[in-house]
């Protein structure tokens, strides 16, 4: 963890005239799990969508390899997208495609690999996320947890440098959520991936977070490690953790 892989500087996001994110700045280091945390409606998902340019920031910079993602042209954006993977909150699998086809899509579209190789890559990724047996099923035939795993397999199919995850544990039981967290740790340690995870699951944060960015009403009110967060004097951070401790820790 020596140099930042993603730098965010003075980012501001708006919906119409309403300011959602105000002057957000932080660095994400290589090969760390960076957690964006906050209560409901604080702007976590909006921040994530700005980082992956599904929304265009109204002000500020998102720097990846010295390029500002907020303003780059479509060719460079394509390059950026080739370096990242995204796990959406509900998986966002294509419902008319089998799990195998869903995971294979980026390979079919962006590579000229023969089918035999594509098949091997896909099966390896499905094995990594432990849903090899579901390769030929449709997303609707899977449970929520399995859909998340399949979506994760698709997100990491091109071995991205950064994996963005939006509320990965939402709607999952604690055991499935924990196994998903273990998978994130595996991706970080074994594949040297950087993970940026939006969540408000305290148990999950404790297990996986290297750094935390705490949002409240569109402002970054805390940035630091988990230990620093637990000892923080910021009232909202203190309250947030103290309310959850009894339940999760």
């Amino acid at each position: 963890m020596t140099e930042p892989i993603l730098k965010v500087r003075n980012l501001q996001a708006k919906y119409g005239n309403k300011i959602i994110l105000k002057d957000i700045s932080f660095d994400v280091m290589k090969n760390e799990i960076f957690v964006i945390l906050g209560g409901s409606g604080c702007g976590k998902s909006t921040l994530l969508k700005n980082l992956i340019r599904l929304y265009k920031p109204s002000k500020g910079q998102v720097l990846f390899q010295n390029q500002n993602i907020a303003t780059i042209d479509s060719d460079n954006l394509e390059f950026y997208y080739s370096k990242i993977g995204v796990l959406f909150q509900n998986g966002a699998l294509l419902n008319s495609f089998t799990i195998f086809e869903n995971v294979a899509i980026p390979l079919y579209i962006h590579t000229n690999l023969p089918y035999e190789i594509i098949k091997k890559i896909v099966l390896k990724k499905l094995e990594l996320v432990d849903i090899l047996h579901a390769a030929e099923l449709l997303p609707s035939q899977l449970s929520g947890g399995m859909q998340k795993r399949a979506a994760l397999a698709r997100a990491i199919i091109l071995d991205p440098d950064i994996l963005f995850c939006d509320e990965p544990s939402a709607g999952l039981d604690p055991i499935t959520a924990e196994s998903l967290d273990q998978l994130f740790i595996k991706l970080k340690t074994q594949l040297n991936m950087t993970l940026i995870i939006v969540t408000h699951e305290l148990a999950s944060i404790k297990r996986i977070a290297d750094h935390i960015l705490f949002l409240d009403k569109g402002n970054a009110i805390f940035y630091g490690t988990m230990d620093e967060a637990l000892n923080s004097n910021v009232t909202f951070v203190k309250n947030f953790f103290s309310k959850g401790m009894g339940v999760y820790f």
Partner: protein
């Protein structure tokens, strides 16, 4: 309990404004509203000592009515306990609010906004159509960004699966058209002209139009709901972040499939429509089969068929673009999907009929 009293410039609120009383109070207010003959009034809460959330809703409603009538008001004599309840539940600010008159500039702004909205919708619609045509060329030369068999799948869904219903509908249209005309033609001994009527009407008008209307209901709605659902479930966003152009991946196969399927379906429709007319011709008007067929060959010229096919292709582009447009504009969840699906079908059918009218004028006078 006291009643609500309306004087010339004053509404005196009753002592109890609670859920069990508001119905009477509201009726009283509506009944005596006409007695207010000034544009500035006072709402007096001097008597009021009991108020609940339903009562606050009633006050809000009264204020809304006053605002709509451009009557300015201010409140008086609100007890602190009553004010607390109002402050907790009211969506109105109980003070002398100056009603917002719709000034001329507001109306102009509204018209301008409608114009801007219309303009941006037209631009968006055009961009989708141009994008689909542009990326279809890449797909045709083998540089598509879609699943290999997706065009075939769409052809089966849009084309093959629609053959029975379009065939049956066209047969019935041909039968009805011929039957309605037969009685008139018989009176003048012009039986053989049933062939002209059915042949030209089916090939130039009814075939393309009825097929397009059926396709708008059947496929246009499917396009809109599928794309809308993909947006609602983040599937379109997922494609974007995989550097996959949603237009190339999702829309181009549909565009190509409907462009191929439409002329084929129109041919089926023309054939079966004429067949319907043929049955009436030989069974009801006693036209010999050979005479019917000879007359058909004689009157149908190639341009009739090509005009019908050309119109059909234009209609198919309208259907796929409208479906995609509404699908991509979805807002909200399941309800939003339902709304855009309905809007897509209605708009497609309207635009198809509008385009058909324009074509008719062009080909008639051209």
């Amino acid at each position: 309990m006291s009643n609500l009293i309306i004087e010339k410039n004053k509404i005196i609120m009753p002592d109890k404004i609670t859920i069990s009383h508001i119905s009477n109070i509201y009726n009283e207010f509506l009944k005596n509203l006409s007695q207010l003959n000034t544009k500035k009034i006072i709402i007096d809460f001097n008597k009021t000592n009991q108020l609940d959330s339903a009562g606050v809703a009633l006050i809000d409603q009264i204020i809304e009515i006053l605002n709509n009538k451009n009557i300015q008001y201010k409140t008086e004599n609100i007890a602190p306990s009553v004010k607390n309840i109002i402050d907790t539940f009211s969506s109105q600010k109980l003070k002398a609010i100056k009603p917002e008159y719709e000034t001329k500039s507001d109306i102009i702004t509204k018209i301008y906004n409608i114009y801007e909205n219309f303009k941006s919708n037209i631009i968006f619609f055009t961009i989708i159509l141009i994008d689909m045509i542009y990326w279809s060329f890449f797909a045709i030369i083998g540089k598509g960004q879609h699943k290999k068999d997706s065009i075939t799948q769409q052809l089966i869904l849009i084309g093959y699966n629609a053959v029975p219903i379009i065939g049956l509908m066209s047969l019935l249209v041909g039968l009805i058209l011929a039957l309605q005309s037969a009685a008139q033609l018989r009176q003048f001994g012009a039986n053989i002209y049933i062939v002209d009527l059915i042949g030209i009407a089916m090939v130039r008008e009814m075939g393309p139009l009825m097929t397009a209307i059926m396709m708008a209901g059947r496929s246009g709605s499917a396009f809109a709901s599928e794309i809308a659902t993909m947006i609602v479930t983040d599937e379109i966003d997922a494609l974007k972040v995989m550097s996959i152009n949603p237009i190339r991946f999702v829309l181009v196969p549909k565009f190509l499939a409907i462009t191929i399927a439409m002329p084929l379906l129109i041919t089926v429709s023309d054939f079966l429509g004429i067949l319907g007319g043929f049955f009436i011709g030989i069974l009801y008007l006693n036209i010999p089969t050979t005479a019917f067929l000879n007359r058909l060959v004689e009157i149908l010229i190639l341009s009739d068929i090509t005009i019908g096919i050309f119109k059909g292709i234009c209609f198919s582009w309208i259907i796929v673009t409208v479906g995609s447009y509404f699908g991509l504009k979805v807002k909200g969840g399941a309800q939003g999907v339902g709304k855009v699906t309905t809007a897509s079908v209605v708009t497609s059918i309207f635009l198809v009929i509008l385009a058909d009218s324009i074509f008719s004028l062009i080909f008639y006078f051209g």
